[in-house]
């Protein structure tokens, strides 16, 4: 059973790497600042909503791009949603792909859109895995009787 300080160190290192590699940006820190005793699960709740919402959006995007006649306005509308929610939780790499995705929608470029769909799905899965790892680390710290270090 790892000591609390060792887990905390792991947590700090992992979180730092997520920021350095651009998976997360300052907006994620903003979310953490909003978490308090009155709402100790706030970050997990918001991120879970993001996961659910993202999976729906990815399905909708795949369907929309499979149509014989693609409705690019509809596709763009889904991407806009995805861009918004990823930006709100600080999932920077997902947001960045969405920006390119929207450009392809405007150009009605099907190939570009399909490539972006693959990319955004990839980035989403990556950040989802990273966040799940982060939450698991947090749980381990709490279970070991420690407190989660605040990242500034």
């Amino acid at each position: 059973m790892a000591a609390v300080s060792q887990l905390q160190r792991q947590f700090i290192e992992y979180t730092t790497s997520l920021y350095n590699e651009g998976y997360l940006d300052d907006q994620f820190t903003q979310l953490q600042k909003l978490q308090d005793e009155s709402n100790p699960e706030f970050v997990v709740e918001v991120v879970s909503l993001f996961f659910e919402d993202s999976e729906k959006l990815l399905n909708n995007l795949a369907t929309a791009l499979q149509q014989k006649i693609v409705d690019y306005k509809q596709v763009d509308s889904h991407v806009h949603q995805f861009k918004g929610s990823s930006s709100s939780i600080g999932a920077q790499r997902v947001t960045n792909v969405c920006v390119h995705f929207r450009n392809y929608c405007e150009e009605k470029n099907l190939d570009g859109c399909l490539r972006c769909l693959q990319q955004v799905k990839h980035e989403y899965i990556l950040v989802r895995n990273k966040l799940e790892t982060l939450f698991r680390l947090e749980q381990q710290i709490v279970q070991a009787g420690g407190s989660i270090p605040m990242m500034e």
Binding site: Q27, L34, F42, E45, L49, S77, S85, S88
Partner: protein, 144 residues
């Protein structure tokens, strides 16, 4: 020792956004800044809540007066945009003095000007930070 707020002291904010995650976020930001919050997922629902209907008939609430101290709305929403919602609020004799804040993820100067000219109090860029909302809250106390 807990602070006891009288109903009148806590500003009541109506937050309008079609994005579920953003709604949850704005609600928390406002609650953390000591506001009472009601959320609506689109312009129509917001207008219904405010007692304004499409034909501009205004409901009067007997006794239980609906008091909204500020409306904060997203700009890009399906159906009715934040701008259109702002227009309807400013056209209402009952609600025209309620400050309206527009939020958007896009920093488009013409859009900002358009909203400010229509009477929006402020235009804020998403994603919102706690410091942004605290500033707004501070403005609310000054307005009142």
């Amino acid at each position: 020792m807990s602070m006891e707020y009288h109903e009148e002291d806590v500003p009541h904010v109506l937050a309008v956004d079609d994005n579920l995650i953003d709604r949850k976020l704005i609600e928390k930001l406002l609650k953390t800044s000591s506001c009472r919050v009601t959320t609506a997922e689109n312009g129509m629902r917001a207008l219904e809540y405010l007692g304004l209907r499409e034909n501009h008939q205004e409901d009067h609430f007997n006794g239980n007066v609906l008091k909204v101290n500020m409306i904060i709305t997203d700009y890009c929403m399906p159906g009715m945009t934040g701008y259109e919602l702002l227009q309807k609020i400013k056209e209402s004799s009952v609600l025209k003095d309620v400050p309206v804040v527009i939020m958007s993820s896009e920093n488009i100067q013409t859009r900002i000007n358009e909203c400010l000219e229509k009477g929006a109090q402020t235009f804020m860029l998403k994603p919102l930070k706690l410091s942004d909302v605290k500033k707004l809250r501070h403005q609310l106390t000054n307005v009142n």
